[in-house]
């Protein structure tokens, strides 16, 4: 594994030891035939090397034609040694040994952009024979661009440019049109209903930590929700599973009250830290649902198996429930038990729409444009494939 000169010598010695062991074992294996009848094997020929494309220059592929004596059943050849040196004249170091019948090897002990020469040697009980000339100069090139990933680069670059363009547009005042999601109306309706009934709103920002973007989206939506509840003077309850989202949730609710012009109504107990433990968290939420009887349940964020318990308990109290998650396996439980469910990326779209932040909206618009591009690519590709033209499909094949 190590490439420094001294280490490759060490490695060479190791491989040489293996070769000696092979040679030492050979007389035992050749016991059936008298040892003196076995001649040294004839040399392997045609050693060729090939640099591996699109790599960091850490390996060189070698292949050769077997020694004519390397046939099945023959014991003349027991294996091959691969030798490597910095010049056609050596000094040579054994870098690998392979058993008889092997035609190729990858030398992974090279350093990028250095010059190497290779030789291959047949080993048998009768002796060792070095192949005629050294192959070289072999230079493992370190590539500056992995050309098999061109299509990934193209899609990524297109996407980033679109997003940046629309962000720029949005910031310079030409905010792109983004339709209002039906889910947002549903959230407002639920809050309105809770206000009418004089009961609190329950807001659950998911069960994951801040490293999950769904939690972030959930907390962004929380700010808008808190603004609405502050305006209506409806209490809000926010149980949070992790410490960092907890502090952020507090801030979001406070700033919601602030931007509604009601900093005085902010209740520091409305956001509570529960426990990252899934079932303890669920038990706390179902406790709130059954005890405080909120009239609106908003589940916005990442949910796992607990979605089913939340949706069912919430359903049984007759509250309006709106859910949003990008955890697809949990969506069916929300869809059947909630009044409205934001599906997958609608969670992020809602957070962009509600925050109204130009850059988020710009990002949304950029993603929309890439969707149009994908629809066009799929349509074009399907037509091309139907007529037996595979160029586009092949270009998108990546490594």
């Amino acid at each position: 594994m190590l490439t420094h000169a001294s280490s490759s010598t060490r490695r060479g010695l190791l491989a040489f030891g293996i070769a000696l062991a092979l040679a030492a074992a050979a007389p035992v294996r050749a016991a059936v035939a008298p040892p003196d009848t076995i001649a040294a094997p004839r040399a392997p020929t045609g050693l060729v090397f090939a640099d591996i494309a699109n790599d960091a220059g850490r390996a060189m592929d070698l292949s050769w034609t077997l020694s004519p004596d390397d046939t099945t059943g023959s014991r003349t050849v027991t294996g091959y040694l691969i030798l490597r040196g910095p010049t056609p004249g050596g000094p040579w170091a054994v870098v690998d040994s392979v058993p008889a019948g092997t035609r190729s090897r990858r030398d992974e002990g090279v350093h990028h952009d250095s010059t190497y020469f290779y030789r291959v040697e047949a080993v048998g009980p009768g002796g060792r024979t070095l192949a005629g000339a050294a192959a070289g100069p072999a230079i493992p090139r370190a590539a500056w661009f992995n050309s098999t990933r061109g299509s990934v680069f193209a899609f990524m670059a297109l996407f980033f440019l679109l997003v940046l363009y629309y962000m720029y547009m949005a910031q310079s005042g030409r905010k792109p049109f983004v339709r209002r999601l039906a889910g947002i109306d549903a959230i407002e309706e639920a809050i309105g209903r809770a206000t009418e009934m004089g009961r609190p709103v329950l807001y659950v920002p998911g069960i994951t930590d801040i490293d999950d973007m769904q939690t972030v989206a959930g907390l962004v939506i929380l700010e808008s929700v808190a603004r609405m509840t502050a305006r209506y003077e409806t209490p809000i309850r926010v149980p949070v599973a992790y410490p960092i989202p907890f502090t952020i949730a507090q801030e979001m609710v406070r700033s919601g009250h602030l931007s509604a012009g009601r900093p005085d109504t902010y209740d520091s107990n409305s956001v509570t830290f529960v426990s990252p433990q899934q079932f303890a968290y669920v038990a706390a939420i179902t406790g709130i649902i059954l005890r405080d009887r909120p009239a609106a349940h908003l589940y916005m964020g990442a949910f796992f198996a607990e979605s089913l318990l939340l949706a069912e308990t919430g359903f049984s109290t007759g509250a309006i429930q709106v859910a949003a998650t990008a955890n697809v396996p949990q969506l069916p439980f929300f869809v059947v038990a909630c009044d409205y469910t934001l599906i997958g990326e609608e969670l992020f779209a809602a957070s962009a729409y509600l925050s109204g932040e130009a850059r988020l909206v710009g990002g949304l618009k950029g993603a929309d444009m890439l969707k149009v591009a994908i629809v066009l690519v799929v349509l074009t590709g399907c037509v091309l494939e139907t007529f037996g033209i595979h160029g586009l499909t092949r270009w998108m094949q990546t490594q």
């Binding site: 001294s6 990933r149 990934v152 996407f159 433990q277 069916p332 969707k371």
Partner: protein, 225 residues
Amino acid sequence: MNVSHDLGTWVAAFLTLCILSFVYKDNPFYKFAEYLFVGVSAGYFIVLNYWTVIYSNLLDPLRTAFGGHVEGGPFRIEQGDYRALLVIPGLLGVLLFTRLSRRTAWVSRWALAVIIGVYAGLKTTGFAQGDLVAQVQASLQPLWVPGHLWTSVNAIVFTVGLLTSLLYFFYSREHKGGLGLATRVGVLFLMVSFGAAYGYTVMSRVSLLIGRFQFLFSDWLHLIR
């Protein structure tokens, strides 16, 4: 009845029943088991991460680095042998603990920034290649295969489902007219996929219960093989 004589199995069976009692109602036995579980798993995670990562990927290589047994050469970093450089992640890891105090918590952002940066990069490229490009590429299929009517019908249904579902998540225009029609078709496909997910989730959950009953009946009570 020939029940188990192993203390561990009895402890495990007792805890299994404590937790299963939750389906009757929340009770002290369930709570006992739940808190014990949180404690044991927190302790176990610390031990596990210490020995398998902090010790083997950080402290052990650092000891070698500062113990004077430096092998290899100038290129060892290329081979993933970082030695003394590992002081950097070690320091960042320790910085995380400034979170325990409110006043020093901002220092932990440095460590957090490194993690967030690494995962932002990894996820962006991983999703771009594995999900976006590879999935779009696999969708480029012939819509008409002569002589294979059923294959062709499926290819067309699939493509219609894919494109209309994709358009459902289109926010730049109101869902009216042609787009409205497409998104209404798309939502039907989405609902079928949620139904399938529902069915498979049922299968998963039932399997877990089967596993627990298999434990109680075989390991503990020896009722079944």
